[in-house]
């Protein structure tokens, strides 16, 4: 219950923080998508209902703060969460390079969805931003996610003595993390 009570505040804090940091480091050139990394992390760690609510909330707050149309990032984050949730059955989060690669792909998917939505809804071509914005942003998300997953694993170890990934999602169904 505490999770659901704290979630709005945490997501607001997260989205505002990433907007502020992006403004400082990239001066509006790139978006520092910590929120996307958190959604991917939720896909690997949280239960379906918890994760979906987190993705919805994060996407909604991001829509509100970034000034885009309500539901745009809500829909994108929800899809990315679901993708992460199902991929987590195949990939173990201990393999950081896989996590980074998957996050990079998620970011590219997000960009692809944005391009498509803008192309067909607003008839606005965003292809010119692919090399200058979307690819560097995807690389940044990949690096950030590896760091974030590593840090969270350490934090989980300190708090619970072990990671909190559920038994069903250890990646043993596909690419194994175990040597």
């Amino acid at each position: 219950m505490i999770y659901y009570l704290l979630l709005p505040f945490v997501t607001i804090g997260l989205v505002v923080l990433q907007a502020t940091l992006a403004d400082i480091f990239f001066s509006g050139w790139l978006t520092l998508e910590l929120s996307l990394v958190v959604v991917i992390y939720a896909g690997f760690r949280l239960e379906l209902m918890q994760g979906m609510i987190l993705a919805l909330m994060t996407g909604f707050v991001f829509d509100s703060v970034s000034g885009s149309f309500l539901g745009l990032f809500t829909l994108i984050y929800l899809n990315i969460f679901l993708l992460s949730f199902f991929v987590s059955l195949r990939i173990a989060s201990e393999k950081l390079y896989l996590v980074a690669l998957f996050s990079l792909i998620c970011s590219l998917i997000e960009s692809f969805m944005l391009i498509l939505l803008y192309r067909y809804i607003f008839e606005f071509d965003m292809m010119s931003n692919v090399l200058m914005v979307f690819v560097p942003q995807a690389l940044l998300v990949g690096v950030l996610s590896a760091g974030f997953f590593h840090a969270m694993r350490k934090a989980e170890g300190l708090m619970y003595g072990k990671t909190i990934q559920s038994q069903q999602r250890t990646g043993t169904g596909g690419i194994s993390a175990k040597a």
Binding site: I12, T20, L48, L70, L72, L75, L78
Partner: protein, 281 residues
């Protein structure tokens, strides 16, 4: 039974549909006003303020750090600049002081209406037995032995040896130096003589005369060497000995002989100038 088996799929589908409906609704009502959006923005504003304040603090600290890093180089450059400026300042100060001194020399010329020849001190001889200075003008400039030498505010001495381009000035404090003087207040006459480091003494003033400490001593003009009225010094001590007829008068010269850099040689006084201007018919 169906709903129980496909509960997850139905839930996911419902959420996706809800997101799509939200997007469609938002696109359809492109008014920019939405209660939920406004609520989210209202909640985000204080958080934004807190983050902005915190990051501004960090940013300021970082800027200060960067400033400190550049400070060493800047400090070095500034030190070099200060050294250059100090050199310039010394030069300017030197020029200013020289201008001040020359101005005083010029004022001396204007006060006395004499014909002066300015000269620069090029050496000094301050031995126990001899108090002289060398100047950079000689007979080529019209100087002759015996000419009085002045510096603001008074008498310096007289020329003794004159070569073509330099001359020797016997200072007033040399023990071989003598000049006819008088006490300005009482017009009592005497002869001032050099006393080395003690300054000068005035001799041959009777014990009956009125001379006090602080009286001004000026040249009397009797010897035809020094014109009348040139400042010599101030009485610092008056001694009445039991034996002897004369007072013991010590005089502190007005001129500081240790700091002389430029002097004026009195080439001709007003009378001679007038005579030069009006040739004899």
């Amino acid at each position: 039974m169906f709903f129980k088996n496909y509960r997850t799929v139905i839930l996911v589908g419902a959420v996706i549909v809800a997101a799509l409906v939200l997007l469609s609704y938002s696109l359809k009502r492109d008014s920019g006003e939405s209660v939920v959006k406004n609520l989210a923005l209202e909640a985000a504003a204080p958080v934004q303020k807190i983050f902005s304040a915190a990051i501004k603090g960090v940013d300021n600290a970082w800027e200060r750090y960067v400033h400190l890093v550049g400070l060493v180089e800047e400090n070095r450059n500034l030190k070099n600049k200060i050294a250059g400026l100090q050199t310039d300042l010394i030069l300017y100060k030197e020029g200013y002081q020289e201008a001040q001194r020359l101005q005083k020399l010029l004022s001396l010329q204007e006060e006395h209406q004499y014909e002066f020849i300015a000269a620069r001190v090029i050496g000094r001889e301050q031995a126990a037995l001899s108090k002289t200075i060398w100047i950079d003008k000689g007979s080529a400039s019209g100087l002759k032995p015996g000419m009085p030498v002045l510096a603001p505010p008074g008498l310096v001495g007289r020329l003794t040896d004159v070569s073509w381009h330099s001359s020797k000035v016997l200072l007033l404090i040399d023990e071989n130096s003598n000049a006819d003087v008088l006490v300005q207040r009482t017009r009592v006459q005497g002869i001032v003589r050099g006393a080395g480091s003690r300054g000068c003494v005035v001799r041959y003033v009777s014990k009956m005369e009125d001379v006090k400490e602080g009286d001004l001593i000026v040249t009397s003009g009797l010897s035809n060497i020094f014109p009348k009225g040139l400042l010599v010094g101030r009485v610092s001590h008056v001694g009445h000995m039991d034996v002897g007829l004369f007072l013991q008068i010590r005089v502190v010269p007005f001129v500081d002989f240790t700091t002389l850099e430029e002097v004026m040689v009195l080439a001709a006084d007003q009378r001679n100038i007038s005579q030069k201007k009006k040739p004899a018919k």
